[in-house]
């Protein structure tokens, strides 16, 4: 089967910055795929190359089997992109914007589909409002609608929920899930890791222009062995012997790292022996964020030592963007 997206050995440099170095990636039709990474990892550059907004220095990129340079007409017809920036054309109303976007793809008589998309995104009431008058969330919905006017089989969402309120975010994800159920391939970049975990079946993690992890979301989460013990204690401080286990500490609540359930008893005994009383206790499974932090740190350690250190040092409990 032709991959929905096929990226082979893509390199891209902007001046002195090597934005992408040798990306290889395939996304199958119908997948819900996540692209994660810190700022500057190269996610948007990769998406821009996919969309033809940026040209790769070398390597090949295909959308539904069409090369993005040689068969750009076919590849762009197959792709819908929701950009990260909240852009709009202030001259036009919502309906005009969507009709014009549809016309760029050579589509005639597309009003029925435009109405349907507006309906699904709760834009029908704003159809004749000028783009300038819309709130940020509404503008974001129009961007989603614009990406869908030509019914592309592959849809890329570049951090579509950045700065969007919770209600819209939920609604948007419900809508995107529906598109995926209908057979659309979805590629999503997001800073909200729990979102990627909930939505994406497979995930690639990017760092400094390289893919540092590529696996199903389940495997990635399972890769992180161990679990967390969250304790609220009273009567005494956390014993120093447990300091090495601390993931984060907001006195009197401490989250400790355990390798397995077998360690629970021992840790609780140490706390009690120190004279502290346990008021609350919770066991937490590792989530994608832990894996993310772990993988990002592992890479750094590997680079410093000049090799690939497999054992990782979990040192930064700071949760990015939560």
């Amino acid at each position: 089967m032709t991959p929905a997206i096929q990226i082979q050995q893509v390199h891209k440099r902007f001046g002195a910055v090597q934005a992408l170095s040798g990306i290889d990636l395939e996304v199958a039709p119908g997948e819900f795929f996540g692209l994660l990474g810190p700022n500057g990892a190269g996610k948007t550059t990769l998406i821009n190359i996919l969309a033809g907004l940026t040209r790769a220095d070398s390597g090949s990129v295909r959308v539904m089997g069409h090369d993005v340079i040689a068969d750009y007409r076919e590849s762009r017809r197959a792709l819908g992109v929701v950009p990260q920036e909240l852009v709009f054309d202030p001259f036009f109303s919502v309906r005009e914007t969507l009709r014009i976007q549809s016309g760029y793809f050579g589509l005639k008589h597309n009003d029925a589909w435009i109405d349907e998309v507006m309906h699904h995104l709760d834009l029908a009431g704003k159809a004749d409002a000028n783009m300038r008058s819309l709130s940020g969330g509404m503008k974001r919905r129009v961007l989603v609608a614009q990406a869908l006017v030509h019914k592309p089989p592959v849809i890329v969402l570049d951090e579509p929920t950045a700065g969007v309120d919770v209600e819209l975010r939920q609604g948007l994800w419900e809508f995107v899930r529906g598109l995926n159920r209908d057979g659309h391939t979805i590629v999503l970049t997001t800073h909200y890791l729990e979102e990627a975990e909930a939505l994406c079946a497979r995930i690639a993690m990017l760092k400094q222009g390289r893919i540092v992890a590529l696996d199903t979301t389940n495997n990635l989460v399972n890769r992180r062995d161990g679990l967390y013990l969250k304790l609220r204690i009273a009567g005494a401080a956390l014993p120093a012997a447990l300091a090495a286990r601390v993931r984060d500490s907001h006195d009197p609540v401490h989250t400790l790292r355990l390798r397995s359930y077998a360690e629970v008893e021992g840790v609780l005994a140490q706390v009690r022996e120190s004279g502290a009383r346990i008021e609350e206790l919770e066991l937490l499974q590792p989530d994608l964020e832990d894996v993310f932090v772990q993988i990002m740190n592992m890479e750094e350690g590997g680079e410093r030592s000049g090799g690939r250190s497999v054992s990782c040092v979990l040192s930064t409990p700071a949760s990015p963007n939560r």
Binding site: F14, N48, A51, G52, L53, T54, R55, Y72, R73, E74, R76, R77, L79, V81, P83, E85, V87, F88, D89, P90, F91, F92, E96, I100, Q101, G103, Y104, F105, G106, K108, Q146, H150
Partner: protein, 251 residues
């Protein structure tokens, strides 16, 4: 509608929606030139036999309005799209660089024509004009607005800020139009300036356009049209090359 047709429609709709600023304002400005210059220059010897100064002035002003508005249309549309980021709406669809070029330039031609016709119609209320060779009038108006629409596209592609487009306009387009014989026949100039004017492509556009009205000109209109056509071809080739490379549009 085809992708090209839609982009053309969008570009036309864009300036039509702000017609007060894109059509009415330049028509008014040009009429102020007409009123002031024809008053100040009243009694000046006719430039050509039997052509009073005010009649001589009108085609020059019309062409100046055509050229400046054609330039303003493509350059301001493109720089606005680049700066606000909505340029991606035309970069994501399967539009070819030919589609892109033709739509922006044609919209500029239409904008130039609409303003030119506006200036001409209102001027006819003040000044009597003859129309000796209407086809030459149309030919020069089309060539001139296409050249300036293309220049506007180049400026819009190259510029990264509004003031760079403004600089292009103030330091290139304005001097070339004002020194092209809009307000005078170059025969009234000292020999040096007369010679220099022949290196200004805008001079040929204005001179040939004026020939269409009066049947007299400083230069053979066929030669002027060839020069205008050659300028258009060179600029078109340059612009298409920039667009094909994605210069400053696709990084």
């Amino acid at each position: 509608m085809s992708g090209f047709g839609t982009l053309l429609y969008k570009e036309l709709l864009r300036f039509w929606k702000v017609a007060f600023q894109t059509i009415a304002a330049p028509v008014l400005t040009t009429l102020l030139y007409l009123l002031i210059f024809s008053h100040v220059m009243q009694g000046q010897a006719p430039v050509y036999d039997a052509v009073p100064y005010s009649a001589f002035l009108v085609p020059g002003l019309v062409m100046m309005a055509v050229l400046q508005n054609a330039f303003a249309n493509s350059s301001s549309s493109l720089i606005q799209s680049k700066i606000t980021g909505n340029i991606i709406f035309v970069l994501l669809p399967p539009l070819s660089y030919w589609d892109f070029f033709a739509a922006y330039v044609l919209a500029s031609v239409v904008r130039g024509m609409v303003v030119g016709v506006g200036v001409l119609l209102v001027s006819l209320g003040f000044v009597g004009l003859s129309f000796e060779h209407p086809l030459w009038i149309i030919a020069f108006a089309v060539a001139g607005s296409a050249i300036l629409g293309t220049l506007g596209l180049i400026a819009g592609i190259w510029a990264e800020k509004f003031d760079q487009v403004a600089a292009f306009q103030s330091f290139l387009i304005m001097p070339l139009t004002f020194l092209s014989g809009v307000f005078y026949s170059i025969h009234s100039l000292p020999a040096f300036w007369q010679g220099l004017s022949h290196f200004n492509p805008f001079f040929y556009m204005i001179d040939g356009f004026r020939y269409g009205f009066f049947g007299v000109s400083d230069i053979n209109p066929a030669l002027s049209l060839v020069i205008a056509g050659a300028s258009l071809l060179v600029l078109t080739a340059l612009t298409l090359a920039l667009l094909k490379r994605g210069y400053k549009l696709r990084h």
